[in-house]
Symmetry: C2
Subunit: 510 residues, 2 copies
Amino acid sequence: MDEGQKRSGRAARQAERSGKGARVGRPYIVRNIPTYDVLSEENLIRIEAAADRILAETGMEFRDDPVVLEHWRRAGAQVSGTLVRFEPGMLREVLADAPAEFVQHARNPARSVLIGGKSVVFAPAYGSPFVMDLDRGRRFGTLEDFRNFVMLAQGSPNFHHSGGTICEPTDVPVNKRHLDMVLAHLELSDRPFMGSVTAEERAEDSIDMARIVFGRDFVDANCVILGNVNVNSPLVWDGTMTRSLRAYARANQAAVVVPFILGGAMGPVTSAGAIAQSLAETMAGCALTQLERKGAPVIFGNFLSSMSLRSGSPTFGTPEPAIGSMVIGQLARRLNLPLRCSGNFTTSKLPDAQAMMEGTMSMLAAIHCGANFILHSAGFLDGLLSMSYEKFMLDADLCGSLHSYLDGIKIDDDQLAVSAFAEVGPGNHFFGCSHTMQHYETAFWDSELSDNEPFEKWEAAGSADAATRANRLWKKRLAEFEPPPMEAGMREALHGYVAEKKAAAGDMWY
Amino acid sequence: MDEGQKRSGRAARQAERSGKGARVGRPYIVRNIPTYDVLSEENLIRIEAAADRILAETGMEFRDDPVVLEHWRRAGAQVSGTLVRFEPGMLREVLADAPAEFVQHARNPARSVLIGGKSVVFAPAYGSPFVMDLDRGRRFGTLEDFRNFVMLAQGSPNFHHSGGTICEPTDVPVNKRHLDMVLAHLELSDRPFMGSVTAEERAEDSIDMARIVFGRDFVDANCVILGNVNVNSPLVWDGTMTRSLRAYARANQAAVVVPFILGGAMGPVTSAGAIAQSLAETMAGCALTQLERKGAPVIFGNFLSSMSLRSGSPTFGTPEPAIGSMVIGQLARRLNLPLRCSGNFTTSKLPDAQAMMEGTMSMLAAIHCGANFILHSAGFLDGLLSMSYEKFMLDADLCGSLHSYLDGIKIDDDQLAVSAFAEVGPGNHFFGCSHTMQHYETAFWDSELSDNEPFEKWEAAGSADAATRANRLWKKRLAEFEPPPMEAGMREALHGYVAEKKAAAGDMWY
């Protein structure tokens, strides 16, 4: 082997390594395994027919937003008061204008993500009022916590997106939180991010701040910010949400349209019925973006869950929503829309065995169903109510392993180890053979948190459990954090915008 | 609704409930979701060609068992010394005689299991020298521990099989352990079970004890016991294993043929190569059962794992073996053989977050790959070295949830909740609607161990983690245990057999 060959071999290994769980991130994952399709086409068509029937017979309410009613009227729906009914096929026709995939640009172009097709994008969890860690227990989230989570996400190669309201910064007035949150995403991360949806003007502020960074014309032509809008399930859209949804669409930015269905409460207790409802609600929301601005990017979302027979409490990470997500994935692909599905959920109050059993089951469902954007990839405990520092690190590790999972298996003579069998032969080990030496650095995902040591070595090192190791790791990561570079003028403009907006309004606390 | 309708509705609900995660077990699961096929047929054929090449060019060693060499010679393989080489296609031809599915009979006929096709059978983990619990930590397993685990499995509706060497009863001489273990499986459980493979005469003792229970003629015509035989990977079969494999096949009982490949050690470090090797090794072992007795039941097994780049330690529950298992499943189906795949693995030394992250990923791979018999469904910690009482209970709970997972989604007008949408309408909740009342008892799997309560309620109840709850549950289950009935004469005959065998030999301790 000459030196040239050696060098190219090393470069190839390094390139491969960057794609194989090593500590160099990819901007997003391109899946190399198929989606897991659990339902026949015949049954998918029956669900679609049930959704059409809900839309045509039961209809959907659109409250406190006359523009929406006007949109529907013009598009041919039957509007009576706030109740809207849709002829079968009508929404599908409107949805044909939405792009099947789009790029969400990051301020660091190397970190822009493709959303749609075979892409998979991991973002931290979203929306908890509480935070938790092993030292201080549960408490209300603060802006400091929020900034910490942005830094922990940015500091990990296992995410692709900075997310949105990672936790509620409850020490900031509700009408000013979005300013600090968007500022943190832009300053402390160079990945794509999400803006506010809690009021139309907050959505517009979020988009305005993106305009400072990307430029007004660029933003008008490209997606640079997402807004996550929820249906008030069952079958109600609130004006706050539709106004925010329209603000994003109007600016050519992507709304993520997400029903929130706890089976037996906000929807039927049977999975098939909850899925039909979810499809109806999402189709209506996605179609609305197209009526506001034809061709605007939009993401088909879903959120299914279950409840405990014993307590009536919502349950997460259970089998029924996992299977349901895979069906939703099939339905979204039939609409040719990018998909947000499921995420890492649990009702556990600690980063314990329950947390990762439920979390892994729900996260793998998001992977299998073909989700392009996984919003709640990391951090949730306590039934979505708390962001846990330790769980965040454990989930980040799971996200790392899912890079290798989605890479699937390559089949060629080298991967089939044809030469190794000839070299090693029966009864000998493969430790030192040249095929192993050539591949061992890239062959397997290497966890940062799992302890694979022999029992005695683990015991001698203090018998720490995974949560304790995660506790050490998040502190280390925060201590090491270095913010990505930002031009001083841009930073000044952003801070100026925030200061001006804050000065112009009083504080609202609820 | 008249009384007759009411009764039949109630009976139907109860029947459904028994199949939906409630506390009444099913003898085995019939999967209602497809397998997850991750590789194209073209790539499967390349793996098969690589396996054929290994068999033809590198060959396989069969040590210390001249009968095996004679079998191969007669079947047309090239035998030189202990090395055997196989023409492409030869093993497939032999394997055509093996059944695609078979029933393993339990002494309680209602608990007999189908192995093959769409069936899924959960058995406890197998082979740990150590046991662990939260009170006493890690220690060598004893017969008391072994019996405890048999009782815990029998006491749970979430298993279908009593397993084999659930832990090593290290306080019993090695040459007598099998007698106590088989006795415990037969007395304390009424489910199917596994016998010894550590020596030919121990395999025969195990089968003899089954003959006492089932009758000699029945055993000759039906499968009532399994034996798990391991390849000494790479590409070596030891005489101890082939003699035991032949003992089971000769008695028309099923050998489970399992390579043991830690990638980079007992096989190539690349997944494709390890899978090709696994296929070659399993095909040879399965074919051998057919040469010993044409038509004997046999199970195609596999065990893939990975290693840590940092420590060189084996790793479990990692993404590469998970994907690899799904490929092995596809290959087994192309051979039309029942499949044993993967299981619930972890290197964690505690029943913590790591344990259930790795355990859930590996267990779901076994579910997705189409495994018919999942040997290591519950209990492993510490890289297969320890059976944990708490992990056993946590895994049993996961097995329960997988019943609902494998049930998939039913699609009919009732499941689609057509009537419920008409009844509830937009903006109202589904809590009390008649559709919910009719279905809520059976709609969702209900965990025994997950805590779904609100934080405050959980905190007021003592803030227990999942491992602590599992600790309480296994003690409760053991205290409540009632052995299944057994006729006195049968019990006497079994005890007599064991006493006689024990008296006839000295004690071997290694």
